[in-house]
C-alpha cells in the first residue's frame, strides 16, 4: 500500500511538472496576447469621382486590384481581440463580419472569417493571413456601387492588454 501511495504522489508531481512545462512552452513560443484588426469599408463605383482622400494608403492597392473609377471610404474600424476570441464588426448594408483568430504561427495569423447578411451567412472561410497583411472581401452591392471590405491584421507581442474584444468605429 505504501508503494502505491508513493507512486500516486509521484504521478501527481510529474503531471504537475508536465502542465507547468506546457505553460512554459506556450510562453516560450511567444503567443501574442492581442490581435489588432483593421476593417475598412469602401464603396467602389463608376461615377468618375476619383479616390477618397482618406484612402491615401489604399488607393494604389485598390487601383491595382479593381477597375472602378470611384472609391469612397464608408467606415474605418479598429478592433482588438485574442486568439480564440471572436470579434464582430458592423458593416454597411446590415452586414456583419465575425473574425476569430485561432493562432499565430510563423508570422501568420490563422483565423476564421464569417460574413453575414443580417442573420444569413454569406461566406465562411478559414485562412492564414500574414502579420500586417491585408485581405479584401468584396462584391456585395451597396448604394450605387460595390462594397469592398479591407481586413488588416497584426499581432502584438505585448501581454498586459485587455483580453476583452473591442472594436472602435469611425464612420464617414
Amino acid at each position: 500500500m505504501l508503494a502505491w501511495r508513493v507512486n500516486l504522489t509521484l504521478l501527481a508531481v510529474v503531471l504537475l511538472a508536465m502542465a507547468a512545462q506546457g505553460v512554459s512552452v506556450a510562453a516560450g513560443n511567444g503567443v501574442p496576447a492581442r490581435i489588432n484588426l483593421h476593417v475598412d469599408s469602401v464603396v467602389a463605383s463608376d461615377t468618375h469621382e476619383g479616390v477618397d482622400t482618406r484612402l491615401r494608403g489604399m488607393d494604389k492597392r485598390l487601383r491595382s486590384l479593381f477597375n472602378y473609377s470611384t472609391y469612397r471610404l464608408i467606415s474605418h474600424q479598429d478592433g482588438h481581440t485574442e486568439c480564440g476570441k471572436l470579434i464582430s464588426f458592423m458593416l454597411p448594408g446590415g452586414r456583419i463580419l465575425h473574425i476569430q483568430p485561432r493562432a499565430v504561427e510563423g508570422g501568420m495569423i490563422a483565423m476564421e472569417l464569417v460574413l453575414f447578411q443580417g442573420a444569413r451567412p454569406l461566406m465562411t472561410t478559414d485562412l492564414k493571413l500574414k502579420n500586417h497583411g491585408v485581405l479584401i472581401v468584396g462584391g456585395p452591392r451597396y448604394e450605387q456601387g460595390m462594397l469592398i471590405i479591407s481586413i488588416g491584421a497584426d499581432a502584438d507581442n505585448g501581454n498586459s492588454l485587455s483580453s476583452v474584444p473591442t472594436a472602435s468605429v469611425n464612420d464617414h
Partner: protein
C-alpha cells in the same frame, strides 16, 4: 417439589456446574431421594468422560497449520484483478517494489512528455497539418484578368493562394454560386469576390 421430568432437564448443567446455587441445591436434594435420576446423572457423567477421552485422542491441527489451510482456501478463490495486482505488488517486499513502480510511472510520464508536449512534436504535427495545403487548388491570375470561379452553391471550396500571397485560404464556403479568388502580383493582396445575385 420438583418432578423428575423437570429435574432430568437440569442434570446436564448440574453435572457441568452451570446451574444457579438454589437450583444446584434443589437438584441435589432430589437426587438424594430419587434413584432413577441418580442413575440418569451417572449416565451423563459417563458420556462426558468418554467424550473428553475421545477429544484427547484426536489429532487437532495447530494454529499455524489452521492459518495456512485457510490461506490456501482463500487463494483458490477468484479475486478481482485489482486485488490480485495489489497482492503482487505487496508481495514485492519493501523498496524494490516502490522503486520499480516509480520507474514505470516516471517512464510513462517521460514518454507522454516527449510525444505530446514538446515543441518538436508540436512542430511536427503542425507541419503535417499544413502539408495538404500544397496539394489544394491554386489560383494564379494577373490584374485585369477575369477572376476564376471557385465555389459552387453550398459546396465548400478548399483553396490556397499563390506563394507571394498575404493569405493562405484553407476553406471557403458560400451559398453564392460564383465566388472568385485572386491575389495581386505586386503586393500579394488576396481578394475574395462575392458577386451578389440579380434578384
Amino acid at each position: 417439589m420438583a418432578e423428575c421430568s423437570e429435574i432430568s432437564l437440569m442434570l446436564g448443567p448440574f453435572e457441568d456446574g452451570e446451574l444457579e446455587p438454589h437450583e444446584m441445591q434443589e437438584v441435589a436434594r432430589h437426587l438424594a431421594r430419587c434413584p432413577n435420576c441418580e442413575n440418569l446423572l451417572q449416565e451423563y457423567a459417563a458420556i462426558g468422560r468418554q467424550l473428553r477421552s475421545l477429544a484427547a485422542e484426536a489429532t487437532l491441527p495447530t494454529s499455524e497449520e489452521f492459518a495456512m489451510g485457510v490461506d490456501a482456501r482463500i487463494r483458490k478463490l477468484r479475486l478481482p484483478w485489482r486485488e490480485r495486482l495489489a497482492l503482487v505488488f505487496d508481495g514485492w517486499s519493501g523498496q524494490f517494489g516502490a522503486a520499480l513502480g516509480s520507474m514505470v510511472v516516471a517512464a510513462s510520464a517521460a514518454i507522454l512528455t516527449v510525444f505530446l508536449m514538446t515543441p518538436l512534436t508540436r512542430n511536427y504535427f503542425n507541419s503535417n497539418r499544413q502539408a495538404p495545403a500544397t496539394s489544394l487548388a491554386r489560383v494564379e491570375t494577373t490584374v485585369g484578368e477575369q477572376p476564376q470561379q471557385l465555389a459552387s452553391a453550398e459546396t465548400p471550396a478548399a483553396v490556397s493562394t499563390p506563394g507571394n500571397s498575404q493569405a493562405i485560404i484553407s476553406r471557403l464556403e458560400s451559398n453564392i454560386p460564383s465566388v472568385a479568388l485572386w491575389s495581386a502580383p505586386q503586393d500579394g493582396t488576396t481578394v475574395i469576390w462575392l458577386p451578389e445575385q440579380q434578384q
